[in-house]
């Protein structure tokens, strides 16, 4: 039995400057998970790092101490940061709170762009990365599998993903406010990732005169350019392309800005101060923030687009409500399933143990009563079983209701195992497996806790 913990920060709690410092690219993510496994070998972890969030999902044994500060230290240490630099922006959740948060995230209800489907793929990738490293186990496997299913359900059963106000649509709207015509404009994409693809999709709808794609990986640039009828260009000639471009989408994974202010001042002169619309969706940012101060430069990053997207959120309350209902139902279902999964074997062991005790005592008594008929023996056996069931009924009910109480169920379970010495039985008698329904050998219904 494990306990869930979540430490994270996102676009609501941390500015871009903080998020970009703590962000993990794919390689860093794998390295961090490997380091986590070495440092916390008994724990499970999934690390979700996107443009808008960095979240560490952890499952630990309930009897272990919190060690939250160690997790913060782990994140800080990986990026060689002082914990104080990001800790004030970190949110913490546990147990059912983690489940609910993950389901909201994967449904895009916690996203900057409501209804965006990219987050589903990102959660899946994060989970797969954890599985590959061996960090996802018996707790996080079912949790993330269920989360991905919830994400799909929200996409297919609600209008949330339809007509969404996305980063792409917001960027296109801003472009229309800067430029009147697009047939004589050049769109340049620096980077060929998913976000760049989404944005280019939006800009292609404006029918720009020219579309250039440059990327470190030339094949990806060629593929993206071919998809949108653009032209792949060399990253080495970036300055030259920036002189020609009117709309620039930048989304590289570079750890430092690739466009600085001094360089851009020269570019602006060469452009004869033609207006330029820069959309920097990279985290960390690709364009130095001070470039925005230059005349005729309109620089927007992810956080800048958030405000507009939030307005769209208000207009789509019904879709949000429908998605929220699905999430709530799924959280309850998962909680019930999880409770059953955790309670089942323990209750099974509890009943088995005490019915065995009752049977032992009954046998001992019957040995002293040689003239007991079969009918009387059956009545006595029934009596012993009913007594055990009635005695165990209240503690089992408390356990079943414990998830709603302020003390997590896992703590009750842990206490029960200690009090009734069930841990000793665990290996000796075994349960019915993780997912098996508990069987009350006495014939009582363990699902309701009621005998006869």
């Amino acid at each position: 039995m494990q306990r869930l913990i979540l430490l994270g920060l996102n676009h609501k709690t941390a500015p871009l400057e903080v998020r970009e410092r703590l962000a993990f690219n794919a390689e860093q993510c794998a390295a961090a998970l490997a380091a986590f496994r070495d440092r916390f070998p008994e724990w499970e972890a999934v690390l979700l790092s996107t443009c808008n969030r960095v979240e560490l999902y952890v499952a630990r044994a309930p009897h272990e101490r919190e060690r939250e500060h160690e997790l913060i230290g782990f994140l800080a240490g990986f990026h060689a940061l002082a914990a104080a630099q990001f800790e004030p922006h970190v949110y913490r959740k546990s147990d059912l709170g983690v489940v609910e948060h993950l389901f909201l995230v994967v449904s895009s209800l916690d996203s900057m762009v409501l209804g965006e489907t990219q987050i589903l793929g990102q959660v899946r990738e994060a989970y797969e990365a954890a599985r590959r490293v061996g960090c996802a186990g018996t707790v996080l496997n079912p949790l993330f599998q269920r989360a991905i299913a919830v994400g799909k359900q929200v996409i297919h059963q609600t209008p949330l993903a339809e007509g969404r106000v996305s980063v792409a649509s917001v960027a296109v709207d801003y472009a229309r406010r800067i430029f009147e015509r697009f047939h004589d404009k050049t769109v340049l994409s620096i980077g060929a990732g998913k976000m760049a693809t989404l944005l280019l999709q939006g800009f292609v709808g404006l029918a720009p005169g020219k579309l250039l794609v440059c990327n470190r990986n030339v094949e990806r640039a060629e593929a993206l350019a071919a998809r949108f009828g653009g032209q792949p260009v060399a990253l080495d000639d970036l300055a030259q392309h920036l002189v020609a471009a009117d709309i620039v989408v930048t989304s590289t994974g570079a750890p430092h800005p690739i466009v600085g202010r001094t360089q851009f001042e020269t570019i602006l002169r060469q452009r004869r101060y033609r207006p330029i619309f820069l959309i920097d969706i990279a985290v960390p940012r690709d364009v130095e923030a001070s470039v925005a101060q230059l005349e005729n430069v309109y620089l927007y990053n992810l956080d800048d687009l958030q405000r507009v997207v939030m307005q769209g959120r208000l207009q789509r309350r019904d879709a949000v409500a429908a998605a929220r209902r699905i999430v709530d139902e799924q959280v309850n279902e998962f909680a019930a399933w999880q409770r059953q999964r955790e309670l089942g074997p323990s209750i099974h062991r509890l009943y088995r143990r005490y019915h065995a005790v009752a049977q032992e005592e009954l046998a001992r008594t019957l040995n002293k009563l040689p003239n007991v008929s079969d009918s009387e023996r059956a009545h006595l056996e029934d009596l012993a079983r009913r007594i055990v069931n009635k005695l165990l009924h209240d503690p089992v009910q408390v356990l079943r209701r414990s998830e709603n109480a302020h003390v997590p169920m896992s703590q009750y379970l842990h206490a029960m195992e200690k009090l009734f010495q069930l841990e000793a039985d665990e290996h000796g008698n075994g349960g019915d497996g993780d997912n098996g329904a508990p069987v009350d050998p006495s014939g009582a219904d363990p699902a309701t806790g009621k005998g006869e």
Binding site: R177, R181, R274, A292
Partner: protein, 263 residues
């Protein structure tokens, strides 16, 4: 009638501005109805004034000229919003129309210009007022550009059309206004210095604030048009200069009204 026309134009601008909140289509039609009513009333004032004066030739006096300016601006606004609407244009042009009509009512002199008989005078009046008209539009659109640009730089939007269109609008207006203003300045100078009644501006004409303000406005617009050679004068700077030029031009109009002709 003039006051009712002013009220109509104010009402049109106010109703149009109230659409900012909800963009209700019905109010657009109401604003348009007020605008047309204002145009008809202003034209009625001109007709009435001409009939009273006994001459239908335009620009015969200052009152007539100011109303012509306001009316032409209103017609331009109506035409633009019908052919290729530019959101927010009426919010910026309407105050100028109202200002011109109020100026006509308060400061307008019905006394005919003595000199509007010569060809030079006629050319001067038509080009000077035509230039003023175009440059008023440039000033209004320049102000729109400044606001839209400021909001975009602060990651906000303004319902004022794209920056590219506003810049183009400003440039076309300034080009037209500058050409007319140049002709107006030259013809005005020729008329003033070569008047059969002697130099109207006096021997120290070059020290006349009217001359200096007119020249200043002309120089500012020359700077705006300088952008193709020096591109730093484009965008925000060009818009700012067109607003400054408009303010100087208003100064010239005031100078014409209140400053003594001779020095």
């Amino acid at each position: 009638m003039l006051l009712v026309a002013v009220v109509m134009f104010i009402a049109s601008g106010a109703v149009s501005l109230s659409r900012l909140g909800d963009g209700y289509e019905g109010r657009r039609l109401v604003a348009k109805a007020f605008l047309y009513a204002g145009i008809i009333l202003a034209a009625g004032v001109l007709l009435w004034h001409s009939a009273m004066r006994g001459s239908f030739a335009p620009l015969k006096d200052n009152f007539d000229a100011l109303i012509w300016l306001g009316l032409l601006l209103a017609l331009f606004l109506s035409y633009t919003q019908r052919v290729r609407p530019l959101r927010g244009l009426d919010w910026f042009v309407m105050p100028i129309i109202v200002l011109l009509l109020v100026s006509a009512a308060v400061f307008g002199r019905a006394k005919p210009h003595e000199y509007v008989s010569s060809a030079w005078s006629w050319a001067h009046m038509v080009t000077a007022y035509g230039g003023a008209l175009a440059l008023s539009v440039a000033g209004a659109v320049g102000a729109m550009y400044l606001i839209a640009n400021q909001r975009l730089r602060h990651k906000r939007t303004a319902p004022l059309g794209s920056l590219e269109r506003l810049e183009h609008f400003t440039r076309v207006s300034v080009t037209l206004g500058f050409s007319l203003l140049t002709i107006g300045l030259v013809t005005g100078l020729v008329r003033a210095l070569g008047s059969p009644h002697g130099n109207e501006l006096g021997p120290l004409w070059y020290r006349s604030p009217k001359v200096w303000l007119a020249f200043g406005a002309w120089a500012v617009y020359a700077l705006v048009l300088h952008a193709p050679i020096n591109p730093t004068f484009r965008g925000r700077r060009a818009a700012l200069l067109s607003v400054v030029g408009f303010i100087l031009m208003v100064g010239v109009l005031i100078a014409v009204q209140f400053m003594p002709a001779r020095r």
